[in-house]
């Protein structure tokens, strides 16, 4: 819910997902947003392509495929579709070769599913005595901009609670930036909604496509992994396409106005992607993901006066303009905001220039048994180093944010997100295990 970003340079279309810098292919694949061409120019990319249109949300975008292969994993800088199924897994095998095989199996399945194809031998017409390889509920649905993004949690490198220390011989390869998050004031974390050896983020326009992807990956993995927790998200709260309408969170405020744009290669390189010299080698082109389940005290918030709501955020509710300004995208003047306002505290200028690429989702898991909505924000933020971004920003927010009266962090996880799968011979995590 860190709402601000520093002044991002104007979008210089490049491959959000690829090595980019290939203007000639800019318009090959579009995700919507005024003819921007994100994710084009993908080395060894899949063949599906969709021409960009001029409308902010081209109708065709909902059915398109996002290339799976590229220098960076899709699902970070690529456009944010409206549906999420995020899953964290525990690795149950202690056999390194089995884990590697799982990652290869997953890569193959992910590549198929992002193209809108079934896994394995498909969902129908197979051996009658055997259950079909694919579970079938996505048959006939479009690729729906499905992206599948994998991450590796700290426990994969250090062993887990059962003291299986360094079960995969990865301790030496743990990135310095993959730190365990400190406890922040006000945290009320549920261990059953926190952590995980692996994560997969599935984003899609169609919720059935996202759920199908996680379900099939889990099924492929049984015996080698077990789902630890998972989270559905029904509406994006941040986008990477600044020219499109800014989405609103469940507090009713525009969220992610100054998010890192998927086309802003300079900002991506500086704030999101791990640079080659940052180390370790296997993380170059990757990123770090922080996931937080942030419960909202919806009913209390809804009884809060408009003035207080706007003071808490530091923006007006309708337009989203910063205090004292007229338009959403006007440069905020922080000193005009209350010291405890969310936008002021989260702004890069209050945090040594720190920025994150946010792509969180609103969630509602029904009601809580006390007649209250069990809802909030499933916060997802990508950054080049959590020690320089999420941790300092959250330290400041958790201490002072006026919004804390209305929220509670109830789940938490951090993951090292490796670079993209280059081609058909490459697989998720090859660099880590080689």
């Amino acid at each position: 819910m860190t709402d601000e970003t520093e002044q991002g340079g104007p979008a210089d279309a490049g491959g959000a997902n690829g090595t980019a810098r290939a203007p000639s292919r800019r318009s090959v694949i579009g995700w919507g947003g005024a003819g921007l061409a994100l994710g084009a120019a993908v080395a060894g990319g899949t063949t599906l392509a969709l021409r960009a249109t001029d409308s902010p949300e081209p109708a065709g975008s909902a059915g398109a495929a996002v290339p799976f292969h590229g220098a960076h994993q899709a699902g970070i800088a690529t456009a944010v579709p409206d549906r999420l199924h995020f899953a964290a897994f525990d690795v149950t095998t202690e056999n390194r070769a089995e884990l590697i095989q799982l990652l290869k199996d997953w890569t193959a399945a992910a590549s198929l599913m992002t193209e809108g194809r079934a896994v394995g031998e498909g969902a129908f017409g197979g051996v009658p005595e055997a259950p079909p390889d694919d579970t079938g509920e996505a048959a006939g649905l479009k690729p729906s901009r499905l992206t599948l993004t994998i991450g590796f949690g700290p426990s994969l490198f250090t062993g887990d609670a059962k003291a299986r220390q360094d079960r995969f011989g990865l301790a030496k390869r743990r990135p310095g930036a993959l730190v365990d998050l400190p406890k922040f004031p006000g945290d009320n974390l549920d261990p059953a909604r926190s952590g995980g050896d692996l994560c997969v983020q599935a984003c899609a326009d169609d919720p059935q496509v996202a759920v199908h992807a996680i379900r099939n990956l889990a099924r492929i993995g049984f015996g080698r992994i077990a789902i630890r927790w998972s989270q559905l998200g029904f509406g994006k709260t941040s986008s990477t396409t600044p020219d499109a309408q800014t989405p609103r969170n469940l507090f009713g405020f525009k969220d992610g106005t100054r998010n890192v744009a998927g086309t802003d290669t300079a900002a991506l390189d500086r704030h999101v992607w791990v640079s080659a010299d940052a180390g370790p080698d296997w993380m170059a082109g990757g990123s770090y993901l922080v996931a937080r389940r942030i419960a909202m005290r919806i009913e209390s918030w809804d009884r809060t006066s408009l003035q207080e709501q706007e003071d808490v955020f530091g923006r007006d509710k309708g337009e989203g303009a910063p205090v004292g300004k007229a338009r959403e995208h006007d440069e905020p003047f922080l000193k005009s905001m209350l010291p405890a306002s969310h936008v002021r505290l989260a702004h890069p200028d209050s945090n040594g220039g720190a920025r994150m690429l946010r792509r969180g989702y609103s969630y509602t898991d029904g009601t809580d048994g006390l007649g209250r909505l069990d809802a909030g924000l499933f916060f997802l933020a990508y950054q080049h180093d959590v020690r320089e971004a999420f941790i300092p920003v959250q330290r400041s927010l958790s201490r002072s944010d006026a919004l804390n009266e209305y929220i509670q962090h109830v789940g938490s996880a951090v993951f090292a997100v490796p670079p993209g799968v280059r081609d058909k011979d490459d697989w998720w995590g090859r660099g880590l295990f080689s």
Binding site: T92, A130, R219, F222, G223
Partner: protein, 383 residues
């Protein structure tokens, strides 16, 4: 048990599918009209013909031995075509059946025990007999034997339980309860295939339909489980139910041999047993009063492992990778279950209400890890 039974081995359908509809014993001497004479003694089982035409078969049985005997006509996988029990020493009986072309066995069981003395026979003509794989027939026969043994071993244990209930001895009944269910749980998919028995003996309170009366219509183990652990008293009605349980289980024991079992249904039955674990035991729903879920859990896994072990010789030839994985996952689940057991020979398991959420999750994960490859066993068997 499951609220809705969808078992693949529905004996009712099986019986209907068989051409063997009736097996009637007649007093008249049937010799001379094409009957096959079967001469049974305490040590032999002679047949007058080993080949006969398909269609109407009549067996003229004479028991020349000193023991009461039984005569069976069996398919190669030991499924019963027809049978005649209680043929007294020195008496005769006729048995008739409609049979298709194919291989059969005739068995005499002096003393009405054991596998009996066998004769290979063949019914000829009347279309081609289905091609059979002897290895799979042997697996089915061995599994059928297993289901029979389980039923036979269950009855005395159930009687110990029933007697304790009837004596009003709550503690003794509690002690005998879980043990009396093991054989049933090991062979649940077959046991459930007799659609009318399962709801009588293994219905849970939530399985009652609207309009059914809890007092009147709820019978079987779980009704008594509730009386012992929740109500903590034994009523006259409970004592009646104890007798009824034995009656129903006796019917089950008699019917077990007629279940249609195929290699595919064995493999799927193994998977179904894991489904039973996942839906009823891991959640603690099955034994909600006694919390003896882990005993059922273990019995389900043992039953699945038995099917698997019998099918493994064929499956491993077709898919060695799968059987390797199944070996690993069966071992892993058994090792995990052993943590909740007093010792490896004992069926005394930790009370499930003391098993915490993380441990239940661990059990559930191990069930998933086994059930997923197990779902591929049937295809590996018929490949």
């Amino acid at each position: 048990m499951r609220p809705v039974r969808l078992s693949l081995v529905t004996a009712v359908a099986a019986v209907a599918a068989l051409t063997t509809v009736t097996a009637c014993a007649e007093k008249s001497d049937a010799e001379g009209n094409g009957a096959v004479r079967v001469t049974a003694t305490d040590t032999s089982c002679e047949v007058s013909k080993k080949e006969f035409p398909a269609g109407h078969l009549q067996l003229a049985v004479e028991n020349k031995g000193s023991k009461v005997t039984e005569v069976y006509v069996l398919f190669p996988d030991d499924r019963i075509v027809t049978e005649r029990e209680n043929i007294g020493a020195g008496t005769k009986a006729n048995i008739t059946a409609e049979i298709k072309a194919g291989d059969y066995e005739i068995a005499c069981k002096p003393g009405m025990k054991g596998k009996g003395i066998r004769q290979q026979v063949k019914a000829t003509g009347g279309g081609k007999a289905a091609k059979r794989d002897p290895q799979l027939d042997a697996a089915v026969a061995a599994y059928r034997q297993y289901t029979l043994e389980q039923a036979e071993e269950t009855l005395p244990k159930a009687k110990v339980f029933a007697e304790a209930v009837k004596a009003g001895d709550i503690e003794a009944a509690k002690k005998a309860y879980a043990d009396s269910r093991i054989g049933w749980e090991r062979t649940e998919p077959v046991a459930e295939s007799f659609g009318d028995i399962d709801p009588k003996v293994d219905l849970r309170e939530d399985g009652l339909e609207e309009g059914q009366d809890l007092e009147k219509d709820w019978t079987g183990w779980h009704r008594l489980e509730k009386a012992l652990w929740q109500d903590k008293k034994i009523t006259p009605r409970d004592k009646e139910l104890a007798d009824l349980l034995i009656t129903d289980l006796t019917v089950w024991q008699k019917k077990v041999g007629t279940a249609e079992i195929t290699p595919t249904s064995m493999a799927n039955g193994a998977k179904e047993l894991l489904d039973e674990v996942a839906s009823g035991k891991v959640t603690g729903e099955e034994e909600r009063y006694s919390h003896t879920d882990l005993v059922d859990f273990k019995a389900n896994v043992e039953g699945a492992e038995k099917s698997y072990a019998l099918l493994k010789p064929v499956a491993s030839k077709n898919d060695a990778e799968l059987t390797g994985e199944l070996d690993t996952q069966f071992a892993a689940l058994n090792t995990l279950l052993d943590k909740y057991r007093e010792d490896r020979m004992s069926y005394v398991f930790t009370s499930y209400d003391t098993v915490g959420e993380p441990e239940r999750k661990e059990l559930s994960d191990a069930v998933n890890a086994l059930a997923e490859p197990l779902s591929k066993l049937a295809a590996a068997v018929v490949k």
